[in-house]
């Protein structure tokens, strides 16, 4: 524990240095960004950088800045408008923390995973032992329950930037639970992180035994600290708060534990509870999207992402007339279960104002709903509808006749 404390201090110190740089050193008086000194060729040979002409970055959610006044990172949005394919680079993967957190600096040699509670054989694993076990690599999205479009949002980064997708590698949670021997009366697990707040969530045992992964790698390298180094639980298709970072403990229990993170999500309506934990079929057009500019009438490839917490995407449809008619888009990547799937659609813009929308269908046949359909379900006027649970409503983008693109909810 002592080494961890000193790591924290070191982190806080370097965090202060970074904050000082951001405040003083980076921005010149004329508004231009100061160029960082070029890296030496041997540094770049060892570890590559992106081109200095590629400047896409994450941005904190407007509702609560990161770092906040305590120096905590809360929710940071991925730049979906600049994305290609289905893999989010780890450096641009969205970040969210339980209450706002410091990123812990964990020595993997010291890290342990304990499995205990209603098991026949409590076990503690080192990282080395976990890496000796049979592993799986799968592509899955992660999405935060806070990922909901608002009329005030301008870009797809703001409306949908709390979802990202990566290849995850690790040990099946079911394998570890079988090694420990889950007892018959168990029905839930509590998974807990090692960061200072030790964020914990209750997860149904049926899900834990189904397809969850105890991951040590993301996109072909050890998981990065902001994503949970050295160990993260992947609960495919469930909202982000279940994907416990810095995973240190799994306690097998016989009830919902009502942790702090659990209680933040509870709702008296069973229908809302049903819509809260798993992500529904959802899609969004990333090009053209809010804040972008079409250069004139003619051919464009509409591009976007579709995903579902229930399985694979089987189809995506596009409307260029505000939902009056729908045409099939093409899936441009393999459609993995609980993964972003890239779609494309050939479109010739006639230079007139247009509302673009996408909607997807998943392998259960569930179709992503429009806000009008959701309003009808809850019997509310469409302009006042509150989307309960995880918001998977259709996102409209308005193409103005000058080619500028705007949030269709505004």
């Amino acid at each position: 524990m002592n080494s961890k404390k000193s790591d924290r201090r070191r982190f806080l110190k370097s965090g202060a240095t970074l904050a000082g740089l951001a405040a003083g050193g980076r921005q010149l008086a004329n508004g231009q960004t100061q160029e960082t000194p070029p890296k030496k060729i041997d540094e770049l040979i060892a570890y590559g950088d992106r081109s200095r002409f590629v400047t896409s970055i994450r941005v904190p959610v407007a509702e609560r800045h990161s770092p906040d006044e305590f120096g905590l990172t809360f929710h940071v949005l991925t730049p979906l408008q600049d994305s290609f394919g289905i893999i989010t680079p780890s450096s641009l993967f969205y970040t969210a923390t339980h209450r706002g957190a410091f990123v812990p600096d964990i020595d993997p040699r010291e890290h342990r995973l304990m499995i205990h509670g209603m098991v026949d054989r409590p076990l503690v694993f080192t990282m080395k032992e976990l890496k000796r076990l049979p592993y799986v690599s799968r592509i899955h999205f992660v999405e935060c329950l806070g990922n909901r479009a608002r009329p005030t949002h301008k870009t797809v980064q703001e409306t949908h930037g709390l979802t990202s997708c990566a290849e995850w590698t690790g040990v099946s949670l079911s394998l570890l639970l079988k090694e420990a021997g889950v007892q018959n009366a168990a029905s839930w697990i509590v998974a807990e992180g090692a960061e200072e707040v030790k964020g914990a969530s209750s997860i149904p045992l049926a899900k834990a035994m189904d397809d969850c992964i105890v991951c040590y790698a993301q996109n072909g390298e050890p998981i990065r600290p902001q994503q949970g180094f050295p160990l993260r639980l992947m609960v495919p298709g469930f909202e982000g708060i279940y994907q416990i970072k810095y995973l240190r403990r799994i306690k097998v229990v016989d009830r919902y534990y009502m942790t702090y993170d659990d209680y933040g999500h509870i709702n008296p309506d069973p229908k809302v509870a049903a819509l809260t934990h798993q992500i529904g079929p959802k899609s969004v057009i990333t090009f053209p999207s809010g804040g972008q500019q079409l250069s004139g009438p003619g051919f464009y490839e509409i591009s976007g992402l579709a995903w579902s917490g229930a399985g694979a995407i089987t189809g995506v449809q596009i409307s260029t007339d505000g939902g009056a008619s729908w045409q099939d888009a093409d899936l441009r990547t393999p459609a993995y279960k609980m993964a972003h799937t890239r779609f494309g659609y050939h479109w010739k813009w006639d230079g007139k104002e247009r509302i673009l929308m996408s909607r997807c269908t998943d392998e259960l046949g569930t179709v992503q709903p429009t806000r009008a359909e959701i309003a009808q379900y809850w019997n509310e006027p469409v302009d006042k509808v509150r989307v309960r649970g995880a918001d998977n409503s259709v996102q409209p983008w308005r193409i103005a006749s000058d080619g500028s693109v705007h949030n269709g909810l505004a």
């Binding site: 959610v61 609560r64 305590f70 929710h75 209450r99 304990m114 499995i115 205990h116 026949d120 054989r121 409590p122 076990l123 032992e129 000796r132 076990l133 329950l145 806070g146 394998l175 079988k178 090694e179 420990a180 889950v182 018959n184 509590v190 807990e192 200072e196 707040v197 030790k198 914990a200 149904p204 049926a206 899900k207 035994m209 189904d210 708060i241 306690k251 009830r255 534990y257 009502m258 942790t259 702090y260 993170d261 209680y263 933040g264 509870i266 069973p270 229908k271 809302v272 509870a273 819509l275 809260t276 934990h277 798993q278 529904g280 229930a310 399985g311 259960l364 569930t366 709903p369 379900y377």
Partner: protein
Amino acid sequence: MEAFTTGLPRLLVVAAVLWVCQTAWAQSPTYGLGKTPTAKEIRAWDIAISPTGKELPSGQGSAKEGGVLYVRKGCAGCHGTTGSGAHAPTLISRKDFHSAAPVFCLAPCVNDSNTMGVHSPFATTIWDYINRGMPLGKEGSLTPDEVYALTAFLLYKSGIIKEEDVMDAQSLPKVKMPNRDGFALPPEWKHGTPRLQGYP
């Protein structure tokens, strides 16, 4: 199954199937990796407190003691002397919050309408969270007595217990929270089923 038309064999088959299902998850280890933690190691790590309170340690505290600690431990510095309106999440709801317009916030969002006192169905959640997550930067430094006292202080200030009530491993899980019945568990999760049947 047609062969088993009498009651007894069919029951036996059902029993056998049930037995196989039940023991499927409790099979013997295959890989033999990992070490068995000692009871002491498990106790030291096991900070998740059930609504039944079965993991609560011995110790006790009252609202009066908690009020002193609330200032001395620095809670008031971030959460405000009244427990609301400061930078850190609201701990004690303002009395008139129902008249205010609902404020949007990201989950887990804590404002006047869903402080732990108002919203959590179990007092154990408050104990668990103070113990695991507070004070910021010194997490895990509070003794059980201090956590009981601070929990009692928040419960008293939220109008849930009396000032003289002493919180301990027996009394805390029995506290009747205002939102005790105000939550629905998610439906039993099954692979390959939609979130909510009939939802568009």
